[in-house]
Amino acid sequence: MTPAGWRVFAAAVGAAALGWGLFGKWRAARTSRWAVGIIAGTLVALAAHPGWADRLATLPHMIRIRLIMGIVSVLVMVVNVEAIRRSRLRERYALLWIGTSLFILAGALFTGWLDRLSAALGMQYVSIIVAVIFVFLLLVAFQFSVEISRLNEDRARLARRLALLETKWEMQKVGPSTEQTPADASAPTDSRVQPPS
């Protein structure tokens, strides 16, 4: 495709996403729609004025890396907040992620302490390849966090149901206000799950 063709294509995709973000009912998720709207707006702006991409290419190396890291950390935060909002992720697991992204954001905004750290450790500034691998690892680990949350919820649901059934069963057998039930003898501490932390 010609450069003009790409511009028309990007503008079309951007406009479609913008429409979806602004008017679509995407499970009535407000923050997702904002995110889609920002991406769409960027696409439309790039399509309308491709000189932005050229200007970006002329920026110093460090500035570009810092931009990318900043954008990644903000995206991680948005995704985390949205996942909690949809009850797909528990705050317990999100705190680590948000902490990490705040750390990266601090590195992107203020380089002084990073320079001092890299000088102290004798290492170069992170290369863009490491950053890309890092992003993938973030995605994989994030998925794990969501899975853990879901499994925890299933486990809790099972435990509640089991306890309700057990009580019903015992009451049918011996009536509600007896002092001792036969199940007591068989319910010592066996393979109980220890509480988290």
Partner: protein, 261 residues
Amino acid sequence: MSKSNPRIMVLIPAFNEAEGLADLVARARKSLPDTRVVVISDGSTDDTARVARSAGAVVLDLPCNLGVGGAVQAGFQYAIAEGFDLVVRMDGDGQHPPEEAPKLLEGWRATRADLVIGARFHDGSPFQGTPVRQAGIRALAVFLSVVCRTRISDPTSGFWLVSRPLLDCFAREYPVEYPEPEAIALLRRQGFTLAEVPVQFHPRRHGRSSINGWRAIYYGLKVGLALFIERLRPVDHRLSKTALLMKMAHSGNTTTGADAS
């Protein structure tokens, strides 16, 4: 709930509280006669379940530890399945004296609020502990008061009376860890009301607060994040007060208490 005499259940979540639980159950049965005392043993590894049973309580012995929120939610589901109208919830460590529970009931009769909170009234202030902790609880109280447009002086108290349509809401959706402040924000969002009644707390009988040191920092971060995100959530219309009231009117009392989601 047109009955003149609501059916009341006392709900006590307990994790390894065998010591002192028998006394607590007996006092609860004495100060709130004609109620069923239900102890949720949250995966306890000691004698909690057996002690509570022999003291005359109905026991839900959870096979694994769900956290306070998960345990309390099991109690709410039990209350609905058994057709109770009101649930009085108190801690298993004895810091909520059962003798004060009738005050919650009086508060409910006077206000008909969906949730009545027993606010700790100790030397005129509910805030105790280190200055940081006091400041944290005070900030929580101010934030929730603004959000709920009602004065909330003790947002971390778990000495509660929960009435029927709210019970259905909590049976389906309830926070897992440190649930009280989040639950207050949740009920506000779904259109329920709350009221506070001053009560006298006992100093903790055994053990110390589980929220100290690193836990306190985690508590602050977790509850802060949850309350921030709570502001971004839309109303869940299936769990709003009006929807649940209509459902109750249509179906009598056939809610199963099972997780519907």
